[in-house]
Subunit: 344 residues, 4 copies
C-alpha cells in the first residue's frame, strides 16, 4: 500500500485527488495539509466526503510528509519549487499539479509567472507528466510536472499529426473552451455565478500561461518550430474542456490522418479515438480520466479538424496525477481510474 501526502487540499484539484484516491486500492492518504484549515476535518469543507474520508487538515510537516512514498502538490504555482527539494532529499517522490515543473524554459517561466524559478536543478531532472508521450521517463522520475488542463487536451489532439509530420506546424489553431472549475476555488469577481451563468466569452487574449507550455511540448513532437494561435473561452459548466483544433495538411491523404491517431493511441488506456463521423461532448468524460478525440479531414483534404475533450479536474489534473503515480510505482496504470463519465 502506497502512502501518499497531499499539500494544499482545499482546492478543487485537492478534493478531486481525495475522491479518486478514496477508490484506489493501492494507495492511501496519510497526510493532507492546509495552512488555513489546520485542524479542520476535510469532510467539513467537502461534505461529499463524509463517511468515506476520515482525514483532518494539518499544517505541513516534513516529518509527516517524509513518511510518504509520494507527495502531491495541489498548491498554487511557486509552492512546489520551494518545498520539493526537501522531500526529494528524503526519497519522497513528487508530483506537482501546478506549473512549477512543466516548462524547461526559465525565461518563459519568469515571464508568465512573474517570479524567478528557485529550483532549477530539480526542474532539469523533472519529467513532464503526459504519459502518452513520456511514459518511460515518468517511471523513474523523482519529480513530475503534471500538465495543465488546456495543455493536455491540445497536446493530445495535435500529437499524432505533428509527430507524423502530416500537418504544417506553422498553421495550428486551438480554439479551446473550459468549464469554470479550471479557474480554481477562489474568491474572484470574474468567476462568480452572476458573471458566468447564461454567458460565454473568450478571455486571456493578450496571452495565456498554458501557451508556452504547449509550445514546448508540440515543438518536441514536431521537431521544429510551432505556430499556434490559442484562444481560451469560459464555458458556463462546472467541469470539462473541449478544444477545437485546426491544422493545414501537408499531404492530402485523409486516411493517413485517421491512421496516425489510431496508431499513436493504440495502446493508450485513457485516450479514445472516436469512429469517423463521431465527435465527443464534455459530459462523456465528466468525472472520468478519459480524453476523447474526434477528427475529420475537410472535404477538400487540405485541412483537418480535431475535437479533443477531457475533464479538466481528472485527465486535466488529478486523474492524470494518479495515472502518473501508478506509472511511477509500477502499478497498473488504470488502477483507481475506472470510473465512467457521469451522464447526464
Amino acid at each position: 500500500m502506497l502512502n501518499v501526502g497531499i499539500i494544499g487540499g482545499t482546492g478543487y484539484t485537492g478534493v478531486e485527488l481525495i475522491r479518486l484516491l478514496s477508490m484506489h486500492p493501492g494507495a492511501q492518504i496519510v497526510t493532507i495539509t492546509s495552512r488555513t484549515e489546520d485542524g479542520v476535518r476535510v469532510s467539513e469543507i467537502f461534505p461529499s466526503l463524509r463517511g468515506h474520508v476520515d482525514l483532518t487538515f494539518v499544517k505541513p510537516s516534513i516529518d509527516l510528509l517524509s513518511q510518504c512514498d509520494l507527495v502531491f502538490f495541489a498548491t498554487p504555482h511557486g509552492v512546489a519549487m520551494e518545498q520539493a527539494q526537501e522531500l526529494v532529499d528524503r526519497d519522497v517522490r513528487v508530483i506537482d499539479l501546478a506549473a512549477d515543473f512543466r516548462m524547461k524554459d526559465l525565461t518563459q517561466w519568469k515571464k508568465w509567472y512573474g517570479i524567478d524559478h528557485s529550483a532549477q536543478q530539480l526542474l532539469d531532472e523533472a519529467v513532464y507528466g503526459l504519459p502518452e508521450i513520456n511514459r518511460k521517463k515518468i517511471q523513474d522520475a523523482r519529480v513530475v510536472g503534471n500538465p495543465g488542463c488546456y495543455a493536455t487536451a491540445i497536446e493530445l489532439g495535435f500529437a499524432p499529426l505533428l509527430s507524423s509530420g502530416l500537418v504544417d506546424s506553422d498553421s495550428l489553431i486551438a480554439d479551446a473552451k473550459s468549464g469554470v472549475s479550471g479557474a480554481g476555488r477562489k474568491e474572484e469577481l470574474g468567476i462568480i455565478y452572476s458573471e458566468v451563468g447564461d454567458n460565454f466569452k473568450a478571455y486571456g487574449l493578450s496571452g495565456h500561461r498554458h501557451h508556452p507550455e504547449i509550445l514546448e511540448i508540440l515543438r518536441g513532437l514536431a521537431g521544429t518550430d510551432i505556430g499556434l494561435r490559442f484562444t481560451p473561452h469560459l464555458l458556463p459548466i462546472n467541469r470539462g474542456i473541449l478544444a477545437t483544433l485546426y491544422a493545414n495538411l501537408v499531404e492530402t491523404n485523409s486516411q493517413m490522418v485517421r491512421t496516425s491517431f489510431e496508431t499513436f493511441f493504440e495502446n493508450e488506456p485513457f485516450v479514445d479515438v472516436l469512429p469517423e463521423g463521431q465527435f465527443p461532448d464534455t459530459r462523456s468524460v465528466r468525472g472520468s480520466n478519459f480524453c476523447k478525440i474526434g477528427l475529420q479531414v475537410s472535404e477538400d483534404e487540405r485541412s483537418v479538424l480535431v475535437v479533443s475533450v477531457l475533464d479538466n479536474l481528472v485527465k486535466g489534473a488529478s486523474g492524470q496525477a494518479i495515472q502518473n503515480m501508478n506509472i511511477m510505482f509500477g502499478m497498473d496504470e488504470k488502477m483507481g481510474l475506472n470510473g465512467l463519465g457521469l451522464v447526464p
Copy 2:
C-alpha cells in the same frame, strides 16, 4: 425632466437602475458615484451600456448630488443612513435600495446588521416603498426604504390573505428560492460558479435578514402577531425569486381566497394574479417589473398555496425603486417600466 443621482453604481442594482432609467422618458441620470471606480466610464465596467450611456463614475460630491431631485442609494447597508440627512436637508429626496430605512424596529436592525442605526429621525419618517400597500404615503415621502427582494415576493403573496383575515397568521411558511444576483456583485467563495452551478441548497437557516423586515410588514397587514417560517434557497439562475407560500385557512370558502387576491390587486399595474390552475415561472418576469402570482386552495379547503415570482433586480430592487420614483414625483407609475419578460 427629473434629475436623478445614483450613489454606488457598480453593483447589480446600480447597473439595473441605469438600464431602466436609460429607457425612462421622464428622468435622466446626472451623476453616478463610485469611490473605487472614480474617473472610469460606466460602460467600461458594463459594456452592455456602450453607445447608450455616456456617464463616468465620480466621487460622491454633495454639490453634484444636491442638484438632483432624487438620489438612489445602490450601496451596501449602512451607507444611506450616514448620508441621507445631508441630501434631505437640501430638498433632495432619497430612495435607499439597501436595508437602512426598511425596518422601524431599531433593536431588530442592530441585531441583524450589527451596527447602531445613526439616523433614527429619518427612519421615523421614512416610508416602506411597497406601492401596493403604501402608495399614498410614498407620494409625499422624503425618504423611501425600498423593500428587499425576498420581502417583496413574500409580502405581496401573503398580503391579500392576511389583510382579509382568511388565514391563520401563525401558520405561515415561505419556502423561497432566489437567483444568485440577489447576493450582489462581490468576491465571495460561496457564489462562484463552481460552487453554485448544477447545484441547489437551502441557506441562512439560522436566520435571514429579510425575516424581521417581512414580519414587520405582515404584522401591519394582519393587525396581529405573525408566525412565519422562512427558508431561503439558492438557485443556479441569474435572476428571479420564486416563493412558495403555505398558510392554513380559517374559513373554508375557497372562492373567497381567489377573490381576496383579485380585489387586493385589482388596479395594480405590476401585480398579475394568474387564472385558476396557472402558476408562474421566474423567466416570465425576467427583466420586467411584474410580480406574478398563482394560487390554489387545497382539496380539503384547509390550506392555501401561493406561488409568487418576481425579478429580484427589478420588482425586487431597481424597478420597484423607479416605480416609487414615479409615484413620488407624480408621474405615470408605469413610466419606463413597460419592458416585458425576456423569454427564453
Copy 3:
C-alpha cells in the same frame, strides 16, 4: 458472479444502471434490451461507456432473460406488470424501477396511471424497495418495486419523525425540487433546455403521481392517516432532488428530534444525518448513492425543518435498485456503490 438483465436500457435509469454495474465486482450484465435500438451497440447511444461496456441492445427474449438471476425493468410504467410473471415463473427475480409494484392500492394506481393493473397477484407479494424500512422483506422478495425519486427523499426525511410519533402527521409539507433528469430521456417540449435553463417553476400542482405512493409509506410508518401537502418544482440542474420538509412537533423536546434521526439511521450505510447547523446541497451526492439529511427545530420548538437530498438517478433510482439487488442476493449492501459525490 450474478447475471443480470436490463429491460429498456436507453433511458437515464438504464445508462445509470450500466455505469454503476460496470464498477460492481459481483454482478455482470448479460443482456440489455431495447425494441427501438435492437442491434445497436450501447456505447453508440452513450459514448461515455466506450471501452468499458461491450454490450449490444437486443430485442427482449425470454430465453436470454431467463438465464439471469435478476432482471431490472428500466421501462416506463405498465411494462413490468405485463412481463414480470413470466420471469418469476422461471425463478428470475425482478426489480422494477417504474411504478408498477410500488403501490398496493389498485384504485389509486388506476387513478394516477390510467390503466388497470394486470398483475395483482405479483403486486400483493411485491416488496417496496426502500431498504431503510423494508430491508428484511427485500432479502427474500421475488419482486421489488423500486421507490420513486421524490418518494425516497421525502420518506427518508419524514420516517424518523413519524415512526417516533414526534410530529403531527396531519401537518406535513414537502416542498420538493428536482433536477430535469427525473423527467426522463424523452422528447417533450416542457423539458427542452430553452424552457428550463435559467428558469424555475413549480409544477404538477393539480396532483403528482408520487403523492399516493408517499402517502402509503408514510401511513405505514405513522400507523395513522397522513395530511401531506406536496409541491414539486423543476430545477435547472441535471441531477439531484432537494426536499424541504416541514412538520409541527407534538412534543417540544428538540433533542428528541435529532435523536430520532440518529437512531433511525444509525446503521444505515447510505443515509448521512448531518451535524446541527449543517444542511446538504445536491452536489454533495451527485453520482453517489447517499441520502443526506439536515434538520433543525424551530426557535419556538413548535416545528421541525428537514432538508433531504439525493441523486434522483442513484439513490432515487438505479443506485437504490443495486442496493436492493445486493440485499436480495446476500452481498455486501454497499458493493459497487462506493462512489463519492462529484464536486464540483
Copy 4:
C-alpha cells in the same frame, strides 16, 4: 401606424417579435396565426405577455393578412415560399425569418433543405436583409430574406476584412458557439435540458445549412471565392452566439485592420466595435439588437482574430427583422430597438 401580421407565432422568433413590437411606437400587430393554437390567447402560451399583449392566435386568413402593410413569416423553412406570392400580389410586403429567401443558389437550397424551391421569381427579387451591407436595397424590397443567426454574426465579423481585401479569403475559420434557443421551440431529444445542461459539444460537422448562405454573402463582399471552415457548437445558455473568427492577413499593417472595422461600421446603429484589448461576452447583448465585435491582430501580424457576438433571437432574428421593417417603411431604423442588454 404600421399594421403587421405574424405567421407562425408559437416559436421563439415569434414571441420575440411580439415582445419587441409591443414596445415599438410605430407598428402594431393586427393578426397572429397558428394552425395548432387557433383560438388560444397568445399570453396563455407565453405568460410573460399577459397584461401587455391582447392577441389570440387565428388560422391564417388571406383576408386578415392582406390588411397588413407587412407580414413576418416566423415559420419553418418551406412555408414562406408557398405563401408569400399571394401577399405580395396584394401589396403586402414580406419578411421571412426562415431560409426561403436567403440564398440565390437553387441547387444549394435544394441540397440543404431537401425540397425544390417553389417561388423562384420572388427569390430573384428578394433582398438579403443584412442592413449593414444591403440597406439601400432593403428600402424598396417587397420580400426580405432575414439572415440566419450564425450567418449574421460571421458575416458582420468578416465583412470589413473581406471588403477591404486585407485577408486571404481562402483562409477563413469560423469557430461559432450558439445558445440553445437557436434550435427553436420544438420537441427534440438532442436539446432537452438533460442532454445540454452542464455540457458542451460541436455539432453539424458534416455540414450546416448556414454554411452556403454565409459563403454566398462573403463571396459578394470579397468579390472572389471563399475558403471557410465553419464549426458550430452548442452552448448551455438560452440566448447568444459568439463567433471566434480567424483569417490570415495579406498585409501586415495591423492598424489598417482596426481602421477597416471602424470605417465599415462607422454609422451603423447596431454594430459596436470594441476598443483594442476588449472582447465582448454574449450577455452584453442579451435581449438587445447589437452585434458587438472585438478584434486583435496576432503578435507576428500574420493573422487576425475577431470575436463577434449577438443575441440569436434579436440581431440574429426578430430584432433584425424589425430593423429591416423600419428601413422598408422609412422609419427611424432604431425605432423600438433601444433595449439594452440584460446584465446579469
